[in-house]
Amino acid sequence: MKFKLPLWFYQLASPKWFYELSGKLLPGFGWAALLLLTVGTVWGLAFAPPDYQQGNSFRIIYIHVPGAILAQSCYMLMAVAGLVGLVWKIKMAHVVAKCCAPIGASMAVLALTTGAIWGKPTWGAWWVWDARLTSMLILLFLYLGVIALTEAYENEASGDKAAAVLALVGVVNIPIIKYSVEWWNTLHQPATFKLTEKPAMPPEMWQPLLVMILGFYCFFAAALLSRARTEVLTRERRAAWVVTLVEEGG
């Protein structure tokens, strides 16, 4: 029996089809991101109650935690897309993987920067060699490695494959990030959200955070799609449909 995946999966492999579909999805994600991020920011910064220990400085959590979560999920997406590209030889998967890397790297930078700003008033230091911080830094280095490797190859297809292999190898790092918290558990508080347990924060505090996380995901989707669209046009610049598209001024 032949193993078959649903039709849309194969259709995604077509750059033209991807370009058309993403064109329809992009405004939806963009507006959702704008709405959720506005609501979440105003709610989190102005209306959520201050923390009983940290006062108002805890409010940076509404940027810090979504950034950190996204930096990790973005890596997973990059690795999965890389795997799909290697196994099924789908060009579009490599495009997605390539576009994930800079977004994920900037999210890691965002998480590290906001973490440093948050650390100064609460721990009294910009940086501590805590397992969680170190792991995020390693994640950033992994992103930089993937970006550098993609850029180093002159042949686009080789660079894609090499980066996919590296991303898959780096996935080993993700469980280490997770476990390092529990093994070394030094200064950093454990994860804010767990799927299995109720959050330790009161609802007035975590509800805006949830809105912010959803907003970040929508923003990520929008950024990824618009990057991928540009990349598709660049790569397929000799294809008939791109030429027609440009000539029609689309």
Binding site: F141, G145, A148, L149, A152, K161, V165, V169, G170
Partner: protein, 222 residues
């Protein structure tokens, strides 16, 4: 099996004839370690504290340095392409290369390490742990680093890039390796860290050749 021996024989011959391939990393290991007392402090008290980390970092960098040439010569003279084209599986080639490379670098580094630990005033009780941790850790460094070497072998400026690719992956090994020696130096139990080192080694030994093979194919065929 016969094929595996042929690979071992070829790699050993190559190393015997290119002595600088294994002497240079050893010399690097010695020289880098000597820089630390010069830069930080010649005091025995200070050096004893940093000795486990210093020896481990120096061994890590020496291993990393040796990896650049792992596939280079074979790539340049075309024999790597022949190995990929050949009827044999790539796994014996990879394992054979890594084994010989480890014997020539990591194994010798581990044997040389006690000498350096004396110079750095590492407590004598930690000596055994240092050697065992390096014997367990350096093969992991080579196996993981070979992925980086395979990914960059076709590139003109692979040398710096390999560092960027591989160092983040080395961090768990470095943490557990140096932690085991620190624990031993303080007279504490260190078998836990060594067990973790062994676990990482076995895991990478099983998984890495697949990545190395895929990377070599990318580098050679594009």
């Amino acid at each position: 099996m016969h094929f595996f021996y042929a690979v071992l024989r070829r790699e050993t011959l190559l190393l015997v004839r290119h002595r600088q391939d294994w002497i240079n990393p050893l010399a690097f290991f010695l020289v880098v370690t000597v820089l630390f007392p010069l830069a930080i402090s010649p005091e025995a008290k200070t050096l004893a504290v940093i000795a486990p980390g210093v020896v481990w970092i120096a061994a890590l960098l020496a291993t990393l340095l040796s990896l650049d040439g792992l596939f280079k010569a074979d790539y340049e003279d075309g024999s790597l392409e022949q190995m990929l084209l050949g009827a044999h599986s790539l796994w014996p080639v990879i394992y054979g290369k890594l084994l010989v490379h480890w014997l020539a670098t990591g194994f010798l580094l581990a044997l040389l390490a006690p000498l350096l630990s004396v110079v750095l005033f590492l407590p004598g009780q930690a000596m055994v742990c240092l050697v065992i941790s390096l014997l367990l850790g350096t093969p992991t460094l080579i196996v993981i680093g070979a992925i980086g070497a395979a990914l960059t072998v076709g590139l003109r400026r692979g040398g710096v890039l390999i560092t960027l690719l591989v160092l983040p992956l080395y961090i768990p090994v470095l943490i557990f390796g140096a932690a085991s020696v620190q624990a031993a130096a303080q007279g504490m139990a260190y078998s836990g860290q060594l067990a973790l080192l062994a676990a990482i080694f076995l895991l990478s030994l099983l998984l890495a050749p697949a990545a190395i093979g895929a990377a070599l194919k990318v580098s050679v065929r594009g």
